[in-house]
Structure formats: C-alpha cells, structure tokens
Symmetry: D2
Subunit: 136 residues, 4 copies
C-alpha cells in the first residue's frame, strides 16, 4: 500500500513571479494540480489515462491561505493528500514549503467531483477508488 | 460617491482554456484581480500609482466556488465589491457571470493586507481608504 | 468590406508582470491570440463557432521582437492583420503599442495552418476564407 | 569545464493545455526560460543571484517552430544551449522533445541583452561570462 500523501519538489519558474517580486497567488492552484498529477503517477496511473476512460475530476471549490511568499531562485515542496473521500468526489489538502528551510508558504484545499464527458456527476468507479487509495 | 461595487466585462481568452475545454480554475483569481484593478481605476486611481507610493496589497487568502464552467467564445462579467474593511486590510467578494445569459459561473473572496515594500503590515492611510470607499 | 486589420485595447493585468516589473515575454503570444479572436468577432464570426464546424487553426510558428517593455497600469493596443493567405494557412502580423503614447512595444508574426479534429491539414473552406477576408 | 548545453525533463502540467487538448503555444517560452534557469544552476549559479548583483538578461526577441503538439500525461525534455555570445548579449537555441519517444516537438531561439536595473545595456562582466561558459 502506498503512503496516503505525495510530495513533489521543483524550482519556482521566473514566469510565475509578478511585479511584487514574489510568486503570483494564481500560481499555487497550478502547483496543487501538479501535485495531484504526481499523486496519480506514484499510484501507477496517469490522470491522462483516467481521462481517457471517460472519468474527469472537476474542481468545484478551493481555498488557499498565503503565509509567506515564494520567490524565484528557490525550490518548493508541495505535499498533497486526500483529506476526504465521498462517493462522487474527494477533497485534497496541500502544503507548500520552502524546500530547503522547510518554511511553510501556502496551505490550501481543493474539492472535486467525478463527472463524465457530458459533465454529469458520476460515482467514482471501484477501480479508480482503489488506484487513488493506493490499493490497486 | 461611487457605487460600492464594480463590474467589468471581457471575452474569455483561448489561452485560458484547458484540455477539458473549459476555463482552467487557476484563471479566476486573475479575473478577480483584474476586477480589483478596474475597481481602483473607476475611483480615479490606478493601483500602479498606489504601489508607487509604497503601499502594497498582499493577498493573504482566497476561496472560490465553481458553479458552472466558462468557455471560450463567451464574454464574462466579473463583479467585485469590498465586503469588509479592516484597519490594515479588507476583503473583496466576487461573482463571475456569463455576460449574456447572466448565469452564475464562479463566486469567491480574496483577503488582503496592506504592507510596505519591506513586507511589513501597515495601517491603510486615510487617503487610500477614501479612494477605495469612493469618497476621494 | 471590413478593414484588413483589427485593433483591440485592454489594460495590462497584474498577473502578466514578472519580478523584473515588466510584462513577461510569454504573455504577448496570448495578446496576439486575443487580437485574432477580436479579428474574427469583428467579421461576425466567433472562432469558437469556427472550431465547432471542425476546422482548427494550429499555430506552426511565431517570432517576436521586444522593443520596449509594457508595465502594469498601462493600456495597450494590439493591432493584428493577415499578412499572407495560403491555400491551407495564413500568417498574421502584430504590433503592440502603448495605448496612450503610441510607443511601439512589441512586434511579431504567427503562422497557422488549417487542420481538422484529427490534426490533418485541410484546405481552408471558401466560406471561412470569405469570413477572414471580410467578404462574408 | 561543463558541457555547452543543458537538458531538463519534466511533466506537462494540466494547466498548460488548451481546449484543443494540446499544450498552448505560449507555454514553450516558459519552458525555454526554465531551461535557462537550469543552465545557470548547473553552472553553480542561480539566476536569482545574478539578478541580485544588478545584471538582468532582458529578452529582445524569440522565434519558435511548432512541429508536433505536446500533451498532458507526457514528460518533455528541453535542451538549451548558448548559440552565440556577443559582448552585451547572447542567443540561446532550444529543442523540446517527447522524453520517452525522443520525437521533436518544438524548436526555438531567444535573444538576450544584459541590462542594469535602470534598463541600460551593459557589457556582460567577465565573471558572468565565465559562469555561462562553464569556466568559473
């Protein structure tokens, strides 16, 4: 069984900064998403393959708290874990830290529902649930 | 005195869409910010000029709810209003609607504190408060 | 008949700036694209509707020259015109100017081919050619 | 002495795709920039540290050719090398490949000049030239 969370570390990109000299706040949802992608990859499943089966994970909500700004030149570690499973969705929680100092930068949460190509809510199939729980 | 909110309407950009064929969820904070910029402009003040005086508005938190996806080819209207004033900050609330049908797409909120160039929290000066309240 | 070019004016978004305090160079292709969207809209056709008919305009190349940086707080005008028509594609040329001073900021060019949903090159249909040429 | 080029491999982010289901063409300049960052890091120098000394590398031009689209779910390898050194600038050349198949996706070039904080062109200092050439 896999650990119930994933961590991924990468460098801040210059394009992600703004005129305040810090990472723009709209960038963190992109990092969260990349952590979810890594979450799936570490479970042996690419989210691209999941989508190909007709199941999509739509984002229905998110909230973020910005504790300390991230800067270009630093590496950041994004930790993502499934906080809650529902029959048709789930909630991810995140923490972004400075990779070297460990300082907490941003925390947040995203909510998702499983939909089909037509946008209709769907129960998460058993195989996909097992992939996400690391039991597949 | 100005109305206590602002509305700005623009077209969805193609680059703002993702492989699901909808506007990516990380784009809405950018639209919120653009509505705040318009809020300042309608009060006769450019946020760029505010920054030049040494006062910056840092984002300390945000939460969003995604009701219905936006698509390329549509115009959207973003409504922004100051929901709450604090001595050192304020909260904005937003609603993104389909410009033609009026359908509600996304709602959200951002929290801000006033800081100086060194990142220290500062009381919002009276002149800036008056600008934001439309009394200047 | 429509004029052979389009101009669209909008404010620089804060999120489009970087830590150098200027608009990041990767933003200009997005502005070019928005000018192409406006080009189609002014010809009474939404590119979203064109895509719905099964014809897509893939970008095959682009080149840009950065003369003077754009900053947050300014409005910019993007001029786009079809520079060359080919049987299966076309070339657009662009000029980005400071909306108030008229100062030239960036010039560029994008090349496009017409493809179908499967990615195969297609001859641009007569109706679409007429739309683009403003004769429809 | 370092090799005269750098390669960096990473996964396509979902946010980088567009409604055509492929990576949006404005993303590649961001990847090019990230490869330049890696180029500096592999030479033991962070571009953030270079900027702190007062030397900035402004982008004065770029051109890209899009051969084959990149998709979410794939890893890409970006190769960057200094193509030409000038007294006040340099040119980088890039190739983006599918990391597994090696298929060429995008090629391009960016031109840079060295400027100071006031935006004035500056001769690249000897220490910085040596860093970039891998002789430091």
């Amino acid at each position: 069984m896999n650990v119930p969370f994933v961590e991924t570390t990468f460098y801040v990109r210059y394009a992600e900064t703004d005129a305040m000299g810090i990472v723009h706040h709209s960038v963190y949802p992109v990092w969260f998403e990349e952590a979810r992608s890594e979450f799936m990859r570490q479970r042996g499943n690419n989210y691209a393959e999941v989508e190909a089966t007709g199941y999509l994970f739509a984002v229905t909500g998110m909230d973020l708290r910005f504790h300390t700004p991230a800067h270009y030149g630093h590496a950041v570690t994004v930790r993502a874990e499934v906080e809650k499973y529902l029959s048709r969705g789930f909630t991810f929680a995140y923490e972004v830290r400075h990779a070297e100092t460990g300082q907490r930068l941003v925390t947040g949460r995203t909510k998702h529902i499983c939909i089909d190509r037509q946008g209709h809510p769907r129960t998460i199939p058993q195989w996909l649930r097992e992939v996400m729980e690391g039991r597949a």
